[in-house]
């Protein structure tokens, strides 16, 4: 099967080193793995995610006056947009509703919940 990450080009291309995707924190790799796993099992079309990711990155660039305003040495901005695209695609398909995600996020943020599983 073709590697779907290779379809991500230009500003949407994965941060890589020597051709391999690099993650500068575990949350980035979890976000990456979730999107790939859900796409593989058919929760959404990779193309729909790709389009959404490009739009999210374009929004982020516009917010700082264009691509040259982007500073993202550790990939945090890229993977925050990745996560936004994934959340949006999953909400559109009623896999995870936005309020449900926001509620659970608050539980982790405040320490009410600490276990992923």
């Amino acid at each position: 099967m073709a590697d779907p990450t290779l379809e991500l080009e230009g500003a949407a291309a994965l941060p890589r080193s020597n051709g391999e995707p690099v993650f500068s924190a575990p949350w980035q790799s979890r976000a990456f793995g979730m999107a790939m796993a859900l796409s593989e099992q058919g929760a959404f079309e990779w193309e729909d995610f790709r389009v959404r990711l490009i739009a999210e990155i374009a929004d982020a660039e516009a917010a700082v006056g264009g691509p040259e305003g982007i500073e993202d040495e550790d990939g945090s901005l890229y993977y925050s947009r990745w996560l936004a695209a994934l959340s949006a695609v999953l909400a559109e398909r009623d896999v995870v509703a936005s309020p449900e995600l926001a509620g659970r996020e608050e539980e982790f943020r405040t320490g009410v919940r600490r276990e992923v599983y």
Partner: protein, 213 residues
């Protein structure tokens, strides 16, 4: 079964520190997907493992191999791992302290994070799915010998076992016993014997014959 000379080391405690907004969102999403049966941690691990090679057990294995080959390095590593890893530029991933615990013929070490999944990932790559499982986190403390046996590591009764409970503040790296029959080996050859699991303490490094194959 728990031998009375085995003990759990957790004097550093395990204070909870709030995750960043993005960390919280990722955890929230993963936990919901698991609950809904849309994803499993193992499937996500497998995908990440397929892609991710930059940060991996290689870094930790290099450190262990050097400690085996270089006595001065070994002493400094055990004394102040943060300083040594800092010099190697291996500590810049998170604000964390690393402590290296050394196995000897009479003492063995095993690492767990009983409350979540703290892990020296800058050295060992991403934690394996089993490390985060509730079963491992509970049983590594209550019956470490049984857990190790399941990984194929059977210790003699006289060997003392210390269980190290990782936290957000301090993470442990096991310096395993150097395999016999590796005298005079280069660091590069030695590093090939060092597995991720041996640096968590659930198994031994590979035997020289295995690496020669």
């Amino acid at each position: 079964m728990s031998l009375d000379h085995d003990h759990v080391h957790a004097e550093h405690g395990h204070p909870w520190s709030p995750p960043s907004e993005l960390e919280a969102r990722v955890r929230a999403l993963e936990s919901l997907l698991i609950e809904k049966g849309r994803a499993t941690p193992e499937a996500i691990d497998a995908i990440i493992g397929k892609y991710e090679t930059e940060i991996g057990p290689l870094l930790g294995a290099g450190v262990v191999a050097r400690a085996w080959a270089d006595e001065e390095f070994r002493r400094r590593l055990l004394d102040d791992a943060d300083a040594v890893l800092g010099e190697l530029e291996l500590s810049g991933f998170e604000a964390e302290h690393v402590k290296v615990v050394e196995c000897t013929p009479s003492e063995h070490h095993i690492v767990v994070c009983t409350l979540c999944s703290c892990y020296p990932w800058a050295l060992l790559g991403l934690p394996p799915g089993w490390y985060k499982s509730p079963a491992y986190r509970a049983r590594a403390v209550s019956e470490p010998r049984a857990v190790m046996a399941e990984f194929g590591l059977v210790l003699e009764d006289g060997v003392r076992v210390t269980v190290w409970d990782s936290s957000a503040d301090i993470r442990y790296l096991v310096l395993p016993l150097r395999p016999e029959g590796t005298e005079g080996w280069s660091e590069e050859r030695l590093a090939e014997l060092v597995t991720r699991d041996s640096m968590i303490g659930v198994s031994r490094p590979l035997e020289p014959e295995a690496a020669a194959a």
